[in-house]
């Protein structure tokens, strides 16, 4: 840890908890819905289903795993589907790895477990609350503090769904809060032309491939979007380096007051 901790590091915990709470609230009803699906499954027991929240800790993958097991799928099919659905985490890990290269080993082992979509959104290089000029100690505290509400809400939500069953009326379609939340994360993370292109390619391919097995449309969309945007970024920064940097700095300043 660095000596620059002290006051700013205490602020890191508070900011991390606050920023993640806004993302944890919409995750609660989704956890409850997963709990209901587990309770209604003839194959997946309640304890095993709840344990999957700790073991896998990934909403879409858990829904798919429960559904596949219900349909009589074997271990290999479930694990292959989870691998595909969660393969974007490979990119999260690569994108975030550089920020924590100097971090102690304990953090890398523990932090890896919590690298879900929302934690990546709050802790990547361009996130508003833990910018790269903050000390490593600040960034580590912010990371762990932002993971805590997400994990707590998920474990409690799934457990509550299993215990209490269907107390959210299906007619409310509360699950629409999840695409809304990711839409917000999308707006916050798109701040230049290659970013817009990445989003358009990712979204279009995912819509075309929404019927493909095991979320491969999502994965292909994300990979293609990242690849094309990377090439475009290279071309733009070669031809007009200053403009690209200026746009980014402007956008980074804009994002400082993103989260309450």
């Amino acid at each position: 840890m660095e000596a620059t901790g002290g006051q700013s590091s205490a602020g890191a915990v508070k900011r991390g908890l606050t920023a993640a709470t806004a993302l944890a609230i919409p995750a609660l009803p989704i956890g409850v819905l997963l709990g209901v699906a587990i309770r209604e499954s003839d194959v997946v027991g309640n304890w095993a289903g709840w344990a999957s929240s700790f073991l896998i800790f990934a909403g879409a993958a858990q829904f798919a795993a429960v559904e596949l097991l219900d349909q009589g799928a074997g271990v290999a099919a479930v694990v292959a589907a989870v691998f595909m659905i969660n393969a974007r985490h490979l990119m999260y890990s690569a994108a975030i790895g550089g920020r924590f290269q100097e971090a102690p080993a304990w953090f890398k082992w523990i932090g890896s477990y919590f690298l879900i979509d929302q934690v990546f959104a709050l802790n990547n290089e361009y996130a508003a609350d833990a910018p790269s000029d903050r000390s490593l100690s600040y960034r580590i505290r912010f990371y762990l503090a932002s993971a805590a509400p997400m994990a707590s809400v998920w474990y409690v939500g799934v457990g509550a769904g299993i215990l209490l069953g269907q107390f959210i009326p299906a007619a409310w379609e509360i699950e629409f809060a999840i695409p809304l939340m990711f839409l917000g994360l999308l707006v916050l993370s798109t701040f230049n032309l290659p970013g817009v292109v990445a989003a358009m390619i990712g979204g279009t391919v995912a819509v075309i491939g929404r019927g493909w097995p095991s979320g491969s449309g999502l994965l292909l969309g994300a990979v293609l979007g990242v690849a094309v945007a990377g090439v475009l970024d290279g071309l733009l920064s070669d031809s007009d380096a200053t403009t690209a940097v200026e746009v980014e700095v402007e956008a980074a300043g804009d994002r400082v007051e993103d989260t309450p």
Partner: protein, 109 residues
């Protein structure tokens, strides 16, 4: 294999696979840096992945031929997206988007 064993084994192995994916580069990167073109591309993981997560859930019930028909989720998402662009505040987006969505459902969309 009993069905309970299948379920537990599937969950434990799925968890191990997911953890390995999340830990991959955090643990193996060490002191090395990724090549510059890869680093550039990785800056766009967030917009590409989040758009790929969002889009199918919004356009799910809309086929190209039905695009002219108003869809509650699509309209609520557009309103929510514009709102987010303006205020850059997630709770505002969530409350605003859900209220618009419910109002549209209520009027029969």
């Amino acid at each position: 294999m009993s069905s309970a064993t299948t379920v537990w084994l599937a969950f434990v192995l799925s968890g191990a696979v997911t953890y390995a994916q999340r830990a991959s580069f955090l643990l193996i990167l060490g002191d090395r840096s990724l090549p510059a073109p890869i680093q550039r591309a990785l800056r766009y993981v967030a917009p590409a992945a989040f758009a790929a997560i969002v889009a199918p859930r919004i356009f799910d019930s809309v086929s190209p031929s039905e695009l002219t028909a108003p869809d509650a989720r699509l309209i609520a998402a557009v309103v929510g997206g514009v709102l987010m662009w303006k205020v850059r505040n997630l709770p505002v987006l969530l409350v605003g988007g859900m209220v618009v969505f419910w109002l549209l459902r209520w009027v029969g969309l």
